[in-house]
């Protein structure tokens, strides 16, 4: 599998002009292309400040001193890197073909976006088996990242995504993307989301839902097998049962939404039936995730 099969061919050029929009002030230590709230060594002038002993004498603006006979320090805005972390749900519930493809497409596209801006990207597949996380900075690694993502094998984890996710998140990220289907009990979600704010100020939960989950197409007497827990449930699918299912599902996501609001986490629901470009150029821009 290569990049071209995962994403449309001119995709990278299409998204090249987009960047992650964030109000998060947390930045990495290294120099980057994003303007930082701190003062630094960029070419952009910020303001003057009176000199106090201890300040770097090299920053004294001698022209101002000549005119005013006072020591002023000329300050420039600092440009720093953004640290973006992507967490991909690797539990078996993501195994649905379309869901997994879309998840990889999204991860890959966001990664492209980040790396294209010379920011630091880290990527982790939440899974039982330890995989080497992807941590790179700079546009040169774009290709490497897309091949890393496309080489991901089908999800095999049977553990709860919510319980093992915290181990896979790097601290002090500017933006944290969580790609999941959200199909876990709401109590588990609460436990996990409670810990989230300490990792990042800008957390974005991308809920990937397959059309199959939204509108189950099967009918008759079925033994439904949970892909993760192998739990079997006998169901005679009827309209009332389907209605009930729909009600439960909406209720679940509503609760998840309110939970996220409480912890200041942004959510965005995407469906597998939607095209990746629709998601990027409409949904994400409208949500002000990228610009």
């Amino acid at each position: 599998m290569n990049t071209s099969s995962l994403l449309p061919e001119d995709w990278s050029s299409k998204i090249g002009r987009l960047q992650i929009a964030t109000k998060s002030k947390l930045r990495g230590q290294h120099k980057g292309s994003h303007r930082s709230m701190r003062f630094g060594s960029s070419l952009d002038f910020s303001d003057f400040r009176e000199y106090y002993p201890g300040d770097d004498v090299r920053q004294i603006d001698w022209n101002v001193f000549a005119r005013t006979d006072k020591y002023f320090i000329k300050r420039f805005l600092d440009e720093q890197e953004m640290r973006v972390h992507i967490v991909l749900d690797g539990s078996k519930s993501m195994k649905n073909d379309k869901k997994w493809t879309l998840a990889k497409q999204l991860a890959s596209s966001i990664g492209q976006l980040v790396l294209g801006r010379d920011d630091r990207l880290s990527f982790a597949l939440v899974s039982e088996e330890k995989t080497i996380p992807f941590r790179k900075k700079g546009a040169v690694y774009r290709k490497a990242f897309s091949s890393h993502v496309s080489k991901l094998s089908n999800p095999t984890s049977t553990q709860m995504f919510t319980s093992i996710t915290p181990q896979h998140i790097a601290k002090d990220c500017t933006v944290l993307f969580i790609l999941t289907d959200g199909l876990e009990p709401i109590e588990e979600w609460e436990k996990m989301l409670r810990k989230m704010p300490k990792f990042s100020q800008d957390i974005r939960l991308l809920l990937i839902q397959s059309s199959e989950d939204i509108n189950p197409s099967f009918t008759g007497d079925l033994q439904l097998i949970d892909s993760e827990t192998e739990q079997r449930v006998n169901v005679s699918v009827s309209q009332t049962i389907l209605d009930e299912y729909e009600k439960k599902r909406i209720q679940h996501f509503k609760e998840l939404d309110s939970l996220c609001r409480r912890y200041g986490i942004h959510t965005l629901k995407v469906e597998t039936k939607d095209d990746i470009s629709h998601i990027f150029f409409h949904q994400m821009i409208r949500a002000n995730w990228i610009n």
């Binding site: 519930s93 993501m94 195994k95 649905n96 869901k99 289907d181 199909l183 876990e184 009990p185 397959s210 199959e212 989950d213 189950p216 099967f218 008759g220 007497d221 079925l222 033994q223 439904l224 097998i225 949970d226 892909s227 993760e228 827990t229 739990q231 079997r232 449930v233 006998n234 169901v235 005679s236 049962i241 009930e244 299912y245 439960k248 599902r249 679940h252």
Partner: protein, 589 residues
């Protein structure tokens, strides 16, 4: 093979349920889905309410408790009380005489009794019942039968037999059926007086179901006819039993062509008798009288008479051996011993038994000649051979020894021989000639001798085309020999409907229903009439009552039906359920 309790057929549905359970258990297709997160809750809510869930969790406990409680209850021997007919042994005597057909317009007494019986049969509660019908010979339809469906079908099959009920005889017979237990005898009849019932037996009680309500009856009590040269004169006696004057029409039909020969409107005063005499009716072989009148008993409004010369007298020459007279008497045939000289000028018709050869020519009556007074016998030696003839129907002449014979008549038909010599002959008139004296043979010592004499008398005195008058189901021996070897005598009704066959040599039993019948075998046809007995022409009404010491006037008693088997069944079911619960959960839970 048979089944005692077909009622338990329903029990077959029990294995059937299990079968259904296994057949229709839902087959679930496997369907892998992302998460059963929402499905699970859907299932749970439709499946169990919290209360049921609680029950489910503690099912084993409750089942065991229930089983034990039921066991304890079963040990208490529970029963339900229900009303049932009293008595250990129940006998139903059903009067099937013709008078049972009387009744109001819609329903005869008989139908009413049948309904009563069906009603009572529901209260039997498994007690055995014996049903017998009354008549000259009692018929036991059911003996100690407790199967309700059999009882009811027997009741439904009951029919009126027209025979007289012979009540005293029946009562004696019934008493012989009674065993040591408490017995209740139900009498389904029209009228029985308390004094007629035998009340000696302490353990026997009687329930009489009579015919209620006043019934009106007008009957043709007597109907007779006599042939006078070329006309018939008839006499009828009509009796009105009811308390009001009755008017109607009296008709007489000829039975030959069913032509109306006499018709007269009649009016009979209350409780009175009307005699009618009809003269100069056209000649017919029989007459059928019909009384068209509105009453509650139709069957006695018809009467039939056949005009037959039936001679019953037998005159025996007193010169013959005493054994001849004795033989006739042995067969209950009335015999008059007459001096030889007077035989030639007998005024009355009858069978003449003599040895005077001259009487064959002179006598108008049929003659049985035993020996000849005009010839001398010669010795013979040999075996007796008989032809096929009605007179030998019951009498076999095989072992008879004949010492000597008189010379035979020429041109007479020979029906028995000793070697080649004729032994018994018959002339054209039908007279029989035995060519030996009683002393010349040992025949009188055999039982075939009186039987031969009886057959002869029967054949010669009755008109061969008419068998006479019978009462319903009367049994009578008639010497019937069919012409062909294998032909049977078959009885047909007036409407040419086949009724039954008579086995050759067996006793003849008349049909039950009154009317004209014919007996046929091949081309031969004989007619006979079945008439109601005089006693059946009057109907009686009587109340229903019960007498008895054993049950103290109560007809029903309370019986206790044990419920223990049902409880045991329930317990077994519970044990099965427990077993199933245990099996599903495994031993540890």
């Amino acid at each position: 093979m048979g089944f005692g309790q077909l009622g338990f057929l329903w029990a077959f549905f029990i294995p059937f349920i299990v079968l259904l359970y296994y057949f229709f258990r839902k087959k679930y297709r496997d369907q892998p889905i992302s998460s059963t997160l929402f499905w699970e809750t859907v299932m749970k809510e439709t499946k169990v309410s919290p209360y049921l869930q609680y029950l489910q969790r503690n099912a084993l406990f409750y089942l065991q408790m229930l089983a034990l409680i039921l066991l304890a209850l079963a040990l208490l021997q529970p029963y339900i009380k229900s009303r049932a007919l009293a008595g250990e042994q129940i006998i139903w005597m059903v009067d099937t005489s013709a008078s049972m057909l009387a009744g109001s317009k819609n329903e005869s007494i008989f139908e009413q009794h049948k309904r009563d019986m069906l009603e009572l049969s529901k209260q039997l509660e498994g007690k055995p019942v014996t049903i017998l019908t009354m008549g000259e010979e009692p018929t036991i339809l059911l003996r100690e039968e407790s199967n309700l469906s059999k009882i009811q079908s027997a009741i439904n099959k009951l029919e009126v037999e027209y025979e007289q009920e012979h009540l005293p005889k029946m009562l004696d017979f019934t008493q012989s059926l009674v065993k040591g237990e408490d017995t209740v005898v139900y009498l389904f009849t029209d009228n029985v007086d308390r004094t007629e019932l035998p009340l000696e037996n302490e353990r026997l009680s009687w329930v009489v179901k009579g015919s209620e309500g006043p019934l009106e009856n007008v009957s043709i009590f007597r109907f007779g006819a006599n042939k006078n040269h070329q006309t018939i004169s008839a006499l009828a006696q009509l009796v009105n039993d009811s308390s009001m004057e009755k008017t109607g029409r009296f008709l007489i039909h000829s039975i030959d062509d069913n032509e109306l020969v006499y018709s007269e409107p009649v009016s009979i005063p209350a409780k009175d008798t009307l005699s009618l005499s009809m003269k100069e009716l056209p000649l017919a072989s029989g007459l059928k009288a019909i009384l068209q009148i509105d009453d509650d008993y139709q069957i006695d409004n018809e009467s039939t008479v056949l005009l037959q010369s039936h001679t019953s007298q037998t005159f025996v020459d007193n010169q013959l051996h005493q054994l001849v007279t004795a033989a006739f008497q042995a067969m209950s045939i009335p015999v008059s011993s007459v001096p030889s000289e007077q035989l030639s000028d007998l005024s009355k018709e009858g069978l003449i038994v003599t040895n005077q050869t001259s009487l064959l020519e002179t006598a108008t009556s049929p003659v049985l000649l035993i020996g000849r007074n005009d010839e001398i016998a010669h010795e013979v030696n040999g075996v007796v051979m008989t032809e096929r003839d009605d007179v030998f129907a019951y009498a076999s002449l095989d072992d008879i020894y004949v010492s000597s014979l008189y010379p035979p008549f020429v041109n007479y038909e020979t029906i028995a021989r000793v070697n080649e010599d004729p032994f018994i002959q018959r002339n054209q008139k039908g007279d029989l000639i035995v060519l030996a004296d009683v002393q010349m043979t040992d025949w009188p010592l055999y039982p075939s001798f009186p039987l031969f004499l009886w057959s002869t008398a029967e054949q010669m005195t009755t008109n061969s085309d008419y068998l006479g008058i019978f009462s319903p189901k009367e049994k009578k021996s008639i010497s019937l020999v069919a012409d062909e070897e294998d032909a049977e005598w078959e009885v047909f009704s007036e409407e040419n409907e086949y009724i039954f066959s008579v086995q050759q040599g067996s006793q003849f039993t008349a049909p039950a229903k009154p009317g004209i019948y014919s007996l046929r075998a091949g081309d031969v046809e004989k007619q006979f009439v079945v008439l109601l007995e005089q006693k059946e022409k009057e109907i009686r009404t009587g109340s229903s009552y019960s007498i008895g010491t054993s049950t103290k006037e109560t007809l029903s008693e309370t019986i206790q039906t044990s419920l223990v088997p049902w409880f045991l069944l329930l317990i077994i079911l519970l044990l099965l359920a427990e077993w199933e619960v245990q099996r599903r959960r495994g031993l540890t839970n």
